[in-house]
């Protein structure tokens, strides 16, 4: 009898603790969501109020009154989609080559590639900038896409996945007269859907949230992506009130949050596949 009560009590305590921590983690989101529907006077009241009164869309109106804001949104979306597509193509091909093909110095090349993961972005940003400068791609969204077109992490993820597929499949394909290219498109790729899913979600988030690359490469405000643009607006103090920045931030974060809530299984599996091997 007592044992049951104790169990129930422990469970209750656990729930309380989990909820409390979740509140801490969600608080900034909840607070900014509520505040973005308030007038600025109400949002900066002390003690804080939690129910918008009057309910107003002023903050959203003001951020969209800025002609550049929708433009930034489109730029970001374009960069993110292009980055995802090029990563799916190149990472899966490279991953397949490293996992299933035999060519000289393959393992040496692969460990070289892995060591690239250690190099901080700050070592490569200056040379990348110079290369893009020579190509005439500074202040161009193509430049932003190009520097993230292939990710080492992505190649690694795809290689691990292709290695986990049974070799017999590829042997059978070979006996049926498949070339390597055919084996890639008709056998490996259709089987790699879960890995490609994880890769896409990762690359989308990475490209959507990227800051340093776009910050360095993009010069004119109409080419900015959302993170760069919002920082620019904040530093230039375009708004006396802070609520338009908050509203803009929420809109900018919405696609990633939505994506995460829908695909969190893929994302967590991706981490398990690459990082969880500890």
């Amino acid at each position: 009898m007592y044992g049951n009560y104790l169990k129930l009590l422990a469970k209750l305590g656990l729930y309380l603790m989990l909820t409390f921590i979740a509140l801490i983690y969600l608080m900034p989101f909840i607070r900014s969501l509520v505040a973005s529907f308030m007038t600025w006077e109400q949002a900066s009241k002390i003690p804080p109020e939690w129910i918008p009164n009057p309910f107003t869309l002023r903050a959203f109106n003001r951020i969209f009154a800025l002609k550049l804001f929708p433009r930034w949104f489109l730029n970001t979306a374009l960069v993110a989609v292009a980055t995802v597509l090029s990563n799916i193509m190149f990472c899966s091909m490279a991953g397949f080559a490293f996992a299933r093909l035999r060519f000289p110095a393959r393992d040496l090349l692969f460990s070289l590639l892995l060591s690239l993961m250690m190099i901080p972005a700050f070592v490569t940003i200056v040379p990348n900038y110079v290369i893009l400068y020579k190509l005439g791609l500074i202040d161009n969204l193509v430049g932003v896409i190009l520097i993230n077109a292939v990710s080492v992490n992505g190649v690694y993820l795809m290689r691990q996945y292709f290695l986990s597929l049974p070799q017999e499949l590829f042997d059978a394909a070979k006996i049926d007269g498949c070339s390597n290219i055919k084996a890639f498109f008709y056998v490996a790729l259709p089987l790699a859907k879960p890995a490609i899913g994880a890769l896409s979600v990762y690359q989308f988030l990475g490209a959507w949230n990227a800051f340093l690359g776009p910050l360095v490469i993009l010069k004119s405000p109409e080419n900015f992506t959302l993170p760069v643009g919002l920082t620019y607006a904040f530093h230039r103090q375009w708004y006396v009130e802070y609520s338009p920045i908050i509203a803009g931030s929420l809109i900018a974060a919405a696609p990633t949050i939505l994506m995460f809530v829908i695909f969190n299984k893929y994302l967590i599996r991706g981490i398990t596949l690459t990082a969880g091997r500890g």
Partner: protein, 272 residues
């Protein structure tokens, strides 16, 4: 990569011809550090100030976020209803863009913002102007960093926790070990490789901290939140000295490498 190394031996302003200067850029960078050690004001030794700040930052953020992540993972690893909701809410900050997180926190950290309000309920009368005060600005940024990354590490720890075979716990229960002893004698030792991984990755991330400082404070007030990465950015793209910036970037990389090497040596190696 190789181009970065090549660049660090040249003096160049992006436009004019490149001039080979040998190790001069490295000498300049080290002289800056040396000036800083001798107590030069931050303006003359920004690279050193960035280094000092980032060491303090890393030394605080990495242990706290790792321990927090383990606690979160253990809590979220219970088989109860609705646990997915909690996992998602802990992980949410790490999928949100760091710039957006910074912008939201700038507002929360204002003198009459939410964070000061919550603190004033616990410690009355304590309401610093976080990001404008050089004593608190770096701590405020640490707080944001911990909030933002612990969820990400939690997922890695969750994966590691789920890999621990259940029989070990069953055996321990038969031997009469309590919850706490089970945690310290089974869970923690088996998590050790994962902890090493989290510490190494966390250190690499912390040493390169850039966006939080750039957005929230711009390195100020009075260089209190200046970081090495910020200095590399300024050297390359504000002072237009890519050669010196590359030299500094290589010093940052060397530091990262040495530190992570010692962490790995002490806590076991990573299996890539």
């Amino acid at each position: 990569m190789a181009f970065a190394l090549y660049l660090s031996f040249y003096s160049w302003d992006f436009i004019g011809p490149m001039k080979f200067v040998g190790l001069e850029n490295y000498v300049k960078a080290f002289r800056e550090i040396w000036r800083g050690i001798n107590g030069a004001p931050p303006f003359f030794a920004p690279f050193f100030v960035g280094m000092r700040n980032i060491f303090l930052y890393t030394a605080v953020v990495v242990p706290v976020q790792t321990i927090l992540a383990i606690i979160l993972a253990v809590l979220a690893n219970q088989r109860i209803k609705g646990v997915t909701f909690f996992k998602v809410s802990y992980f949410l900050p790490s999928v949100t863009c760091s710039v957006i997180v910074s912008l939201i926190f700038v507002w929360l950290f204002q003198k009459n913002g939410l964070i000061n309000y919550l603190i004033s309920r616990v410690i009355p009368g304590f309401s610093p102007n976080w990001l404008m005060d050089d004593r608190y600005a770096l701590w405020a940024i640490m707080l944001v960093a911990i909030w933002g990354t612990s969820g990400n590490l939690m997922v890695s720890f969750l994966a590691a926790l789920q890999a621990i075979p259940n029989e070990l716990y069953e055996a321990a229960i038969i031997d009469g070990a309590g919850v706490i002893r089970r945690f310290f004698n089974i869970t923690l030792p088996l998590l050790k490789p994962m902890i090493a991984y989290a510490v190494v990755l966390g250190t690499i991330g912390c040493l390169q901290m850039f966006d939080l400082s750039f957005v929230m404070t711009g390195g100020g007030p009075a260089y209190a939140t200046y970081t090495m990465a910020l200095d590399i950015y300024n050297t390359a793209f504000i002072n237009l000295d890519p050669g010196l910036a590359s030299a500094k970037a290589w010093i940052l990389f060397a530091l990262t490498f040495v530190i992570t090497y010692f962490v790995q040596k002490k806590y076991g190696t990573l299996r890539a």
